[in-house]
């Protein structure tokens, strides 16, 4: 699998505090890569560095390189709007806008200049189908998205992210607020999505990483301790710290 995202000697500081230390990590295309580690280990920070959502935090400073399709996302020539169109993000808590289901999905395409109703209709249907939500909401597209259940809202957010046709989907603990049934549906969805997209997930749930990811990277105290195929990480990790963490002995 070719690499689509690559961090090279990536350092990140929040003010004086160094949150990421010399991270080197390659993320292969069309696979699910899971980032695991205890709270505050830097896995979420790393994820938000990929699509530059960290820019919103005052006092953040990045050194080293974060390459997307061979281009450093922190180079001045990179248009953040373009970057975030190519790299979609789904958050911990479902965050649909207080608008209709249709307008939620159409939000992204409208930013990027799609105005024609027929085109938008097509994108909305395709995205909702892609997120396995179409059949449940096709009769109430004009109703408020806030009326959906938690699991449906999160799938709506996935559909909204898909609507701008990204290459990569970043998911920041996107199932941690959901019940097991909804979680499994979304995991099933991720498995479908990896046929067309590169998926990077951050999860506190090691079982989840084991269930769905192809590769797993273990973060600890701002460092990336170990990365490898998920089967390998969960059966014969090389680093003692990885073993202790995945077996629940600390963290």
């Amino acid at each position: 699998m070719p690499t689509i995202i690559e961090a090279k000697n990536l350092d990140l500081w929040y003010g004086q505090k160094q949150a990421l230390k010399k991270i080197n990590l390659e993320i292969p295309e069309r696979q699910i890569t899971a980032l695991i580690g205890p709270s505050g280990c830097g896995k979420s920070t790393f994820l938000r560095t990929i699509d530059r959502m960290n820019d919103l935090v005052p006092g953040v400073r990045v050194e080293g390189q974060m390459l997307y399709a061979g281009e450093d996302v922190y180079s001045p020539s990179v248009d953040v709007t373009w970057l975030r169109r190519k790299i979609g993000m789904v958050f911990q808590k479902a965050n649909p806008f207080p608008m209709s289901i249709y307008d939620n999905i159409a939000y992204g395409p409208r930013i990027h200049g799609t105005r024609k109703k027929s085109e938008l209709d097509e994108i909305v249907e395709k995205s909702l189908r892609g997120a396995a939500l179409w059949d449940e909401v096709k009769d109430r597209l004009k109703k408020s998205a806030m009326g959906l259940s938690g699991g449906q809202q999160q799938r709506l957010c996935i559909a909204r992210a898909l609507a701008v046709q990204p290459d990569v989907l970043l998911m920041d603990e996107s199932t941690s607020a959901l019940d097991p049934g909804s979680t499994m549906r979304i995991e099933e969805l991720m498995r479908e999505l990896k046929k067309d997209y590169t998926v990077v997930i951050v999860t506190h749930n090691m079982q989840q990483a084991a269930r769905i990811s192809d590769r797993t990277a273990f973060f600890l105290l701002g460092e990336m301790v170990e990365v490898g195929p998920t089967d390998k990480i969960f059966s014969t990790p090389e680093d003692k710290r990885t073993e202790d963490y995945i077996s629940g002995r600390f963290g």
Binding site: M53, R84, K93, F97, P98, Y107, G108, A161
Partner: protein, 294 residues
């Protein structure tokens, strides 16, 4: 020892019960006095004012020849003040609030501005009137006119608009901002399409509160908008629109009570103002609730 202690706690509990009872009685008394005062004021004004509200009073201008009193010009002036003030204060206030919550990076500056607006809300309005008179009427040469009155009211209401809008912007979940930005939205696009629509309830509430403030304002208008009692023809000429002086309902109330001893008319106006205030407050809470539900 043990026995004694037990006794002591029992004694204490009975005295505490008495204390409780007295305190509760006092609180009831306070509440009763407050309610009675309120009922008395409202009742007194309605009893004295309502019988004098006639169609003639509401629909005519005062006439020396016929020796009749009408408050139509004052109603029209009040509407003029409300509309012109809002047209100026709303974009200014909402814009300032958006800047303070969404754009401003300097936390100290924001805190200072917030403190200043808060202080502005607490300043007696006669001071605004004084400043308005010196600045708008004399320095800018607007004389006592409805425009000068409106501009003064802009200063009076802008803190309210900023505050309510800011409060409302702050309640918009951070996750909406993240979601919009993560989709590649620019900052202003995000504010226009997500943040402002989600905080529309606060903005409308602020608007209604501002209207209430304008309708109820008298001190700031005495010197600035003047006491003209005749009907203004705002659409006659630009000059009329800018320079005509006119008393609002509250100022008219002052004039009739203080200078003409027409207490019946004064009470009628008072009753009208009370009803207006009631309606505006009801509208504020109704609109707030309705928009919130969405």
């Amino acid at each position: 020892m043990d026995h004694n202690e037990h006794k002591e706690t029992r004694a204490l509990s009975s005295s505490r019960r008495a204390y409780d009872l007295i305190l509760r009685g006092l609180l009831y008394f306070c509440a009763a006095v407050t309610c009675l005062l309120l009922v008395f004021v409202i009742g007194y004004i309605f009893v004295r004012g309502l019988p004098h509200i006639t169609w003639e009073l509401l629909s005519t201008s005062p006439s020396y020849i016929k020796d009749t009193i009408g408050i139509l010009p004052n109603i029209v002036n009040t509407v003029y003040l409300v509309v012109v003030t809002l047209i100026i204060t709303l974009p200014l206030g909402v814009g300032a609030a958006v800047y303070l919550t969404e754009y401003a990076q300097n936390k100290k500056l924001v805190a200072a501005i917030e403190f200043a607006t808060e202080t502005l809300t607490g300043i007696p309005s006669i001071i605004f009137g004084l400043v308005g008179m010196l600045f708008f009427c004399q320095l800018l040469g607007l004389q006592a006119s409805l425009l000068a009155g409106s501009l003064t009211l802009v200063i009076v209401t802008i803190p309210t608009i900023i505050r309510t809008t800011q409060e409302s912007l702050k309640t918009v979940p951070q996750s909406y901002r993240e979601a919009a930005l993560a989709l590649g939205s620019g900052k202003w696009y995000m504010i226009r399409t997500v943040i402002l629509p989600s905080s529309i309830d606060g903005i409308v509430t602020g608007c209604i509160l501002a209207i209430g403030r304008i309708v109820g304002e008298s001190a700031a208008l005495l010197f600035t908008a003047g006491m003209g009692m005749s009907m203004n023809n705002f659409f006659g000429s630009v000059d009329n629109f800018v320079h005509s002086s006119g008393a609002s309902l509250t100022v008219a109330l002052y004039v009739y009570a203080r200078e003409r001893a027409e207490f019946d008319v004064a009470f009628a106006i008072a009753a009208i103002l009370m009803i207006l205030t009631l309606v505006i407050n009801l509208a504020a809470s109704l609109v707030g609730r309705k928009l919130k539900k969405h």
